[in-house]
Amino acid sequence: MNENVIDRSRDITILEVLDRVLNKGVILTGDIVISVADIDLIYLGVKLMLSSVETMEKLKSGRH
């Protein structure tokens, strides 16, 4: 494979992977319990939790 064309460099790979794994695929809706780093547990619907890391950060800081 030509590495100039196939770009699996770190930055683009992380973005592409996260975009896919957080936003795509089979979607199961329901309740989920997660803990994010050093903060208390968050109880959310799966759809909400998985919307984006940004949404999670907003929820974490109390902004909606």
Binding site: I6, E16, I27
Partner: protein, 251 residues
Amino acid sequence: MGKLIYTIIKASEEPRQLTRVLSGMHGISNAEFLEVSCEGITAVVCDIQKTGMVAGHASAMDYAGVIEKLSKDFTLLPVRFGSIMESDDDIRKMLSGNHLEIKKNLLKVEGKVEFGLKVFCDTEKLKSARNIEPGMKTKSATEAGALHNNSVYLDYVNKKLTEYRLEESVLSYVNSVIEEITDCFAGFEASGKFNKMVSPANIIDALFLIKKEMTAELISVVQDLQTRYSDLNFILTGPWPPYNFVDITIS
């Protein structure tokens, strides 16, 4: 305790192979993988302490890594990160209740892989190369004697008109590139999705689902496109599991 679902696999033909592959892998928190099967489809899951799931980049990447590894040997549907069900019975009910839709999607992606193609360019350079005449040299402007050429109104309208013409010209160019890509990929029987002007630099963000064995040919075609459009930067990523070609929402 819950069950974190990674993927749904068409595993009925090779159940032992799946068990063998999974035996050498571990999920989140080092948990072992389990198979929950129903009517020829299998969900790959691992036990998870609901309170112990850390939803960070690292765990999302690990999760994606498991799906990618399994996709090399099996036809699968990736499940979105963080999907947890209470028990094996719940998962079986989910598989059974959505059996037809799952099978339909598995059939659609069988033997295929996803590729992403992003096209970047220096939009400012592209705009300046489009040779758009600045200003509004229209009859109506000339004939409207009441308006001075240097009026604020005319300047504003001229600016907007030029911007509009430039955007239109760039969009027309992007459409012509998409047409060219579509023509080049015609032989792949690929399913394709295009997004235009994702950002000022990222003028095309495309996704393709192609047969695995066409991978080398696809790379060659993208190389040709890169040669032909030297002002653009083509970035091909993949092969990916078919994340963007799965269309199921399960309640």
